[in-house]
């Protein structure tokens, strides 16, 4: 085989291998499984419903206009996620020793709950005298939960609501600035406190189904970002140039040979 044909075969092999490697990487690199609900209703104003407090009926805005607020939706009969949610939140707040101004407004989304049930619930966590915590009920449950996209489903078999553990961050204008679904680490809580206090926090858009080339993919299992296909796109210009230059070298050699002949 002469050197010219050998080179031609080599270039073809490099090209085919590159295409195969690229297509395999595209197929496997973008797998992700995210809960997109946290992004819904962000920067919308919460429904300004009337709530029942120890001091009587008042508008929700009287709470969030005084201080940035974390809204927690629970019901007292819950033997699922509500107790761990409140317990974890109060522990995190104590441990973080937060100096920021904020309140935690715990609202029952169960029409069966009375204000007295909420008072007992607060005592269960030793929060009844903590000025930061307010336990209330409301007769306007539907507009409230709809405005934060919270959708509990009543399961008549177990006589319980099937629902998410949801924290909603409200700034002093009533805007939903951050939502946290599930019991999460203290760094998430700190980010929420920054958001509701209108402080800048670094952010990066979550990968979406129609975002094919992201630079990094967050792995929820390890909690780490991993390199993704987008960074491979960054190598494409060098690779394409390499192929162009190889072709030009070949062409140049051919022309020089012709000139010599």
């Amino acid at each position: 085989m002469d050197i010219y044909r050998f080179n031609e075969k080599m270039y073809k092999s490099i090209f085919i291998c590159t295409i195969v490697l690229l297509s395999n990487y595209i197929s496997f690199a973008q797998e992700s499984n995210y809960n997109y609900d946290e992004e819904k209703d962000i920067y919308k104003v919460i429904s300004n419903v009337t709530i029942e407090t120890e001091q009587g009926n008042q508008k929700l805005s009287t709470i969030y206009e005084t201080s940035p607020t974390i809204l927690v939706l629970i019901y007292t009969r819950c033997y699922g996620i509500c107790n761990p949610l409140i317990s974890n939140l109060s522990e995190q707040i104590q441990q973080l020793d937060i100096k920021k101004d904020f309140r935690v407004l715990v609202v029952s989304f169960d029409a069966a709950d009375r204000l007295s049930d909420m008072e007992r619930y607060a005592q269960q966590f030793d929060l009844q005298n903590d000025a930061r915590w307010i336990f209330v009920t409301t007769k306007q449950i539907k507009p409230l939960i709809e405005s934060v996209n919270f959708n509990p489903k009543w399961d008549s078999t177990i006589q319980q609501f099937d629902h998410n553990a949801l924290l909603v961050g409200l700034n002093t204008n009533g805007y939903i600035t951050k939502k946290i679904i599930g019991i999460r680490g203290s760094n998430e809580l700190q980010a929420m406190l920054k958001e509701i206090n209108n402080e800048f926090i670094v952010s990066y858009p979550l990968p979406r189904k129609n975002m094919l080339f992201s630079c990094f993919t967050y792995n929820p299992t390890t909690g780490k970002s991993e390199l993704s296909i987008g960074l491979l796109v960054m190598l494409a210009p060098a690779l394409i140039t390499f192929i162009i230059v190889l072709s030009l070298i070949k062409l140049g050699k051919k022309q020089r040979k012709t000139l010599v002949k």
Partner: protein
């Protein structure tokens, strides 16, 4: 060998570039006076002008470098005039598209058109696609032009000869010499091809989002990486093309022997190809999701990129100038001044590329300070030196003795005065890209007015140069030889 048609095309390039330069400087002066509250522009007008100013400046001086290299390449290899004419014609079309989108359509996302700004339409709806198609046209046309020039080099020199590998041995004398001009042009053109391919990919991604109606969205970090890989690299490679002309012309007009490709010149320029492609990471220090290693690469590459090209070139110029009798004229005077501006701007860039400093200087006037220094007082002067040299070629004159010191004085006072105002602003944390400054930053107003005044002095010098060169360029069109 230079032909009449090559001279005519080059002359058309020079006239067009200088006309666009004068208008773009006027836009810059308008912006500085607006920041100084001497005039009052609507914010959308200010940002439209800012967009067209930036994209025009980067575009014309990249073209100037490629056009100069195209002209000088004809000394060593057969060049294609048709390709040069093709590049010129479509560059004019691309520029008109971009100017229409910004000045009529009021597109004002900045010359970096950072995603997702082009899609947050605050201008005529057609502004975004016209701007992006204009850029795409320029990227594709210049890509074809650059590939054409690399092909022409590779027709006469093998890859290893083009990269001057045979010069790396300190003992053997190479069988075939690679002139520094060929080496630097080749390395820079390869860099330009890479960054124009990047631009094509970037445009494809932006169009995919624009025309998919939400079916496809881009990752902002990827788009930012691609944008700065393209933008940072083309700005630097354009400057390297200017250096290629310096290596070729400066000794000739100074009455000195030609520069030779030594082992350190060869090694320096080979390494610069790699470092210049990785230095752009210094634009991404604020992107917290990017691994810290990328930020470290950005800082290291920024430092290392300066060693091969800057140190080698500065040493070469110093050896040429000092201790030798030099006939100073406008051509070598502009080259020498350009090297000075390039080095000052480069030091400003290195200060900003140092992570601990960037935390303070990021997005302050320090950024336009350094890039205006190495462009207005570096790359532009390299190209102007070439224009003067080639202008004399057009009129068949080797006499450079007509050397007006006032012209250089206007350039120095106007140019350096203008950039010093930016540096003082940056050192005082005055932010960039503000159409007007808040009252708390009224130092910015004063500096902007002074900057505008100095830039007007610089503009006077450019007008003077334009009138001088116009006469020579027009003569080419009436020439029969």
């Amino acid at each position: 060998m230079t032909t009449l048609s090559l001279k005519k095309t080059t002359s058309a390039w020079i006239i067009t570039i200088l006309v666009l330069f004068i208008i773009a400087i006027s836009f810059g002066i308008t912006m500085r006076f607006n920041q100084g509250r001497d005039i009052n522009l609507n914010p959308d007008t200010f940002y439209s002008i800012m967009t067209v100013h930036g994209v025009t400046m980067i575009g014309i001086w990249s073209c100037a470098g490629m056009m100069a290299v195209n002209y000088l390449l004809s000394r060593y290899v057969k060049t294609s005039v048709k390709l040069n004419v093709f590049a010129y014609a479509f560059t004019v079309v691309g520029v008109l598209m971009i100017w229409a989108s910004t000045l009529i359509g009021k597109f004002h996302a900045g010359w970096t058109f950072l995603y997702p700004l082009p899609f947050r339409v605050a201008w005529a709806k057609w502004g975004t696609p016209l701007f992006l198609w204009g850029l795409t046209l320029l990227a594709v046309v210049w890509l074809v032009w650059a590939i054409g020039m690399v092909a022409q080099i590779l027709r006469n020199y093998s890859l290893s000869e083009s990269l001057a590998f045979q010069h790396l041995s300190r003992t053997k004398t190479p069988a075939k010499e690679t002139p520094p001009f060929i080496l630097i042009s080749f390395v820079s053109l390869i860099g330009i091809i890479i960054c124009l391919v990047t631009a094509a990919i970037l445009m494809a991604l932006l169009f995919a989002e624009y025309y998919s109606n939400g079916g496809f969205v881009n990752d902002p970090l990827l788009v930012k990486n691609l944008t700065y890989f393209f933008g940072h690299t083309i700005a630097n490679e354009a400057l390297y093309l200017g250096l290629a002309t310096l290596y070729e012309i400066m000794p000739e007009v100074s009455g000195r022997p030609k520069f030779k490709t030594t082992w350190y010149v060869a090694l320096g320029w080979q390494l610069s190809l790699f470092f210049i492609l990785t230095a752009f990471f210094h634009h991404l220090y604020m992107d917290f999701v990017q691994p810290i290693s990328f930020q470290i690469i950005g800082q290291m590459a920024s430092y290392l990129a300066s060693i091969p090209s800057a140190v080698v070139t500065v040493l070469s110029v110093i050896f040429l100038v000092f201790g030798n009798k030099i006939k100073w004229n406008i051509v070598n005077g502009l080259f020498f001044l350009g090297v000075t501006g390039w080095i000052i701007g480069g030091i400003g860039a290195l200060i900003d590329a140092t992570i601990s400093n960037n935390i303070v200087l990021h997005n302050t006037l320090w950024v336009p300070a350094h890039f205006h220094t190495y462009n207005a007082m570096g790359n532009v002067l390299f190209s102007l030196a070439f224009f003067f040299w080639v202008g004399n070629e057009f009129v068949d004159s080797k006499d450079y003795s007509k050397f007006n010191k006032l012209l250089l004085a206007l350039l120095i006072i106007g140019g350096f005065g203008f950039v010093i105002m930016f540096y003082i602003g940056g050192a005082n944390s005055i932010p960039r890209r503000y159409s007007v400054y808040p009252k708390e930053l009224n130092l910015g107003d004063i500096l902007a007015t002074l900057g505008g005044a100095f830039a007007s002095v610089y503009l006077l010098a450019i007008l003077w140069i334009f009138i001088d060169l116009m006469k020579k360029c027009i003569k080419v069109f009436s020439s029969a030889r």
